[in-house]
């Protein structure tokens, strides 16, 4: 059921990728996204695809498990591809098919493929990040990387804390939804038949208890934090400080080389 969603889940392990500094991984993923969007050259995409495949192999995450995690975005990819196929026809050289405003052209096909590959690689890269990095490390990294913004008065620490809490409660809420759906199903609730409106309505018995429980949890958490005299950022120390290691420098170098290569290609 809903519990089977693996997108964004952490996959425990001790591979090279797991041990990379989370800040390094975060920067690399952002760089990877930049690489994906600066060019339309199919060879570059092939290269980036191979690179990602290598990373997946290094991470020692079973390929089947990894692909299963991509399933939820399959619809998005298909939708974008079809949309581009029909409407992405600016500068078309050949028109293969035309009906009303729908035209299938060589440019459209190219655009559709391009977008599909882009989204696929994008989602794969980000899910590789979350598969190999615990949410706590990820928010630590984000906080450290954004810490220069503190000087501008941006409450970076509070944002990181909010993100930690949000990430922490995703599995809890998924479990909760699962439980409520089951409890209402046990009372004969029907979630998958009837018109769209009826189906939307059928989720009221799930949403009301879910909101009530989310507010109750938020309240409890606030009380618990308060009673332990929680206060944010300033002067707080950490059990584990993030430190860059040699492997991080190598990873940065690798990506710097790819970046230089791309710039040379574009010029």
């Amino acid at each position: 059921m809903i519990k089977d969603i693996t997108l964004g889940q952490y996959f425990p392990g001790n591979s090279l990728l797991h041990r990379l500094d989370p800040r390094c991984k975060l920067i690399l993923v952002v760089l990877y996204m930049v690489f994906l969007f600066v060019t339309k050259n199919p060879w570059v995409y092939l290269g980036l695809g191979v690179l990602l495949t290598l990373f997946v192999l290094v991470s020692k995450i079973p390929v089947g498990f990894f692909l299963k995690g991509l399933k939820p975005v399959a619809f998005l990819i298909a939708f974008t591809a079809v949309f581009n196929l029909f409407f992405g026809s600016a500068n078309a050289a050949h028109v293969y098919f035309s009906w009303g405003i729908i035209r299938i052209t060589d440019a459209g096909i190219r655009q559709a493929l391009l977008m599909a590959v882009r989204i696929l690689l994008l989602v794969s890269a980000t899910s590789l990040l979350t598969f190999t990095t615990t949410p706590i490390l990820l928010t630590d990294a984000l906080e450290r990387l954004l810490s220069p913004l503190k000087k501008l008065g941006v409450p970076v620490y509070e944002f990181a804390m909010m993100m930690t809490i949000a990430l922490r409660f995703i599995p809890t809420l998924i479990e909760e939804v699962d439980k409520i759906i089951k409890a209402q199903a046990a009372r004969g609730a029907d979630f998958d038949s009837g018109s769209l409106l009826q189906r939307a309505k059928s989720f009221v018995p799930v949403l009301v208890p879910l909101f009530i429980s989310a507010f109750r949890r938020a309240d409890d958490l606030a009380t618990a934090m308060e009673s332990r005299c929680y206060h944010g950022g300033e002067g707080r120390t950490r059990l584990r400080e993030l430190r860059y290691a040699k492997r991080d420098i190598f990873a940065f170098l690798l990506f710097a080389l790819i970046g230089i290569g791309l710039i040379l290609l574009l010029v």
Binding site: K182, A183, R187, G188, D190, P209
Partner: protein, 287 residues
């Protein structure tokens, strides 16, 4: 009658967190009895009961209700949920309607009964669970914890299921609320003469209310039988970290101290009945 054959269930099959929740469960649950289900957290009790109304599907094995395999989908599955009523742990967390009446009516309304029939059932269920009709127009969220839970249980009872399953119906209630709910359940079973499955952590509650007991341990069925048969195996139960009722412990201790007591003393009442005559004779235990 409910029967399971080689029932096996595996969580997260194929993933890194794969876990066998139930292993080869073979059990026959007799009709018109109060059956207790005991075991540690994670022993498979909750997984087991969710199979009985088709919320979870077995990975191997079958579940038979009155000799027929339970339906896996479609209208049959829905009908199954009405004939096997399952009250989850903390059922008050499932309340959602604006009034108590409408929340209790949610189950029977899904059965597509006539309005009169739904109304009758709501009133019967409310009466069985001790909810006064003056509460019908109140919001369920304004009620006390014990009242909320009774409303939630009434919501299942109103479907008038042939088998009623309750997952720790007394968890988190104060002693008075706990006794009230338990007494309600016993009274309901007596009145409706249906099969009731009671998942519980409390050996006292099981000893006091149930006819038969199933003991789960690490996803397997460790023991099953009448209350007497199961609690007579107190040493084995202790070995897997489950205790016997406190009254039974006291009786065991007294027997070891050389006082002749009959077997089958599992409830405080039974123990009292056995000890009081000895006391009035005087001089049984004079040191």
């Amino acid at each position: 009658m409910i029967e399971t054959q080689n029932l096996t269930h595996i969580y997260m099959q194929g993933g890194p967190f794969e876990q066998v929740a139930l292993r080869q469960i073979n059990v026959k649950i007799p009709e018109n009895k109060m059956v207790g289900i005991i075991g540690h957290t994670g022993s498979g009790k909750s997984t087991f009961i969710q199979h009985l109304n088709g919320l979870l599907k077995p990975h191997h094995g079958r579940i038979l209700l009155d000799g027929e395999e339970i339906p896996k989908s479609g209208a049959g599955l829905k009908a199954l949920r009405f004939s096997v009523g399952l009250v989850f742990q903390y059922p008050e967390h499932q309340l959602f309607e604006e009034t108590v009446y409408r929340d209790i009516a949610f189950g029977p309304s899904n059965m597509k009964l006539s309005r009169e029939e739904v109304d009758e059932r709501v009133r019967r269920a409310a009466k069985l669970t001790g909810i006064g009709e003056e509460l019908f127009d109140r919001s369920p969220f304004e009620l006390s914890g014990g009242q909320k839970r009774r409303v939630a249980i009434a919501g299942i009872l109103a479907m008038e299921p042939q088998v009623l399953i309750l997952d720790e119906p007394t968890a988190g209630l104060d002693p008075i609320g706990r006794d009230e709910i338990l007494n309600n359940i016993v009274a309901i079973q007596k009145e409706r003469k249906n099969t009731v499955l009671l998942v519980s952590h409390s050996m006292e509650d099981v000893a006091r209310t149930c006819d038969e007991v199933l003991v789960f341990n690490h996803g397997t069925l460790f023991a099953s039988g009448t209350v007497d048969e199961v609690f007579a195996r107190s040493e084995e139960l202790n070995e897997i970290g489950l205790s016997v009722p406190q009254a039974a412990k006291i009786a065991d201790g007294l027997r070891k101290a050389g006082i002749a007591l009959p077997q089958n003393l599992y409830t405080v009442d039974a123990l009292c009945d056995a000890l009081l005559p000895l006391l009035s004779q005087g001089g049984v235990c004079h040191d």
